[in-house]
């Protein structure tokens, strides 16, 4: 917090944040001020993933770079869309199984579910 100009800068990227922002709208990081055991941490909470709640609203999941604790912060309307896309697409870009064999794998494991719903409801 800059007392002279009344602005606050993001500790991670230096973006000028508004007073009411819970996280930086540019890099989606925030400062880990207090852990769940009410210790002061001071690490930077970095965004790792997105979570869609039951009512359709989003929360950004963050992980502290210092203590590793997870936190959730609601998505703000001015959040950087490219960062949000990156967070959402990262698991798809790096899947743990070959995507062209996902149906075969599921059948081998005796599970149900299929990818056929994209074109029409099976």
């Amino acid at each position: 917090m800059d007392l002279e100009t009344g602005t606050r800068r993001c500790f991670s990227c230096g973006f000028e944040m508004a007073e009411e922002d819970a996280h930086c709208p540019n890099c989606l990081c925030s400062l880990h001020e207090e852990t769940q055991e009410e210790w002061e941490c001071g690490g930077i909470l970095q965004p790792i993933s997105l979570w869609v709640k039951d009512d359709g609203s989003w929360e950004i999941l963050q992980k502290c770079s210092l203590c590793g604790e997870l936190a959730a912060t609601p998505r703000a309307p001015r959040d950087n869309p490219l960062k949000l896309l990156q967070l959402a697409a990262r698991p798809l870009a790096d899947p743990p199984f070959p995507l062209e064999r996902i149906g075969e794998m599921t059948r081998l494991m005796g599970g149900s579910g299929s990818t056929e719903g994209y074109y029409d409801e099976p």
Binding site: P81, L84, L85, A88, P91, P96
Partner: protein, 142 residues
């Protein structure tokens, strides 16, 4: 009571040092889950419905008094390019990150990863506007 069972019962940090290899019945989908096939000694969620239980505060300490069902809410990619699930406790809202196991249901995992794209979160008009603005034409240049 054998020595090992006694240790399990009375040694507070037992599961921090030893893997838990007991089969269990999933409290959400009711399937019985065996430790074999996970590819890891630490199976902490049901491979079919991916739900977990809030028994630990830090891995293996069995200190939690909550014992709520933890729903899988998201996946993320760790530094070693491996997926991890994020669980959230239904009762107290605690978040925790767990490695996926080898026999986790691939369709379920994919459904979790696709969830942000399924709703109205990314507006198509917004993305179209953004890409139009990014595609700058140099009109001033000779």
């Amino acid at each position: 009571m054998s020595r090992e069972n006694k240790k399990k019962k009375f040694d507070k940090g037992y599961f921090q040092k030893h893997p838990c290899l007991d089969p269990f019945t999933c409290r959400v989908c009711g399937r019985s889950v065996v430790p074999e096939g996970a590819g890891t000694d630490h199976r902490n969620h049901c491979p079919y419905c991916l739900s977990s239980l809030h028994v630990d505060e830090t891995p293996g300490d069995r200190r939690s008094k909550c014992h709520g069902v933890m729903d899988p809410i998201a996946v993320w990619v760790r530094k070693n390019n491996e997926w991890a699930l994020i669980h959230r406790c239904r009762i107290c809202g605690k978040l925790s990150s767990n490695r996926i196991a080898a026999d986790d249901h691939p369709m379920k995992l994919m459904a979790l990863a696709l969830r942000p794209f399924a709703g109205e979160g990314f507006s198509r008009e917004g993305l179209a506007r953004m890409s139009r603005h990014m595609d700058v034409r140099d009109e001033g240049r000779p």
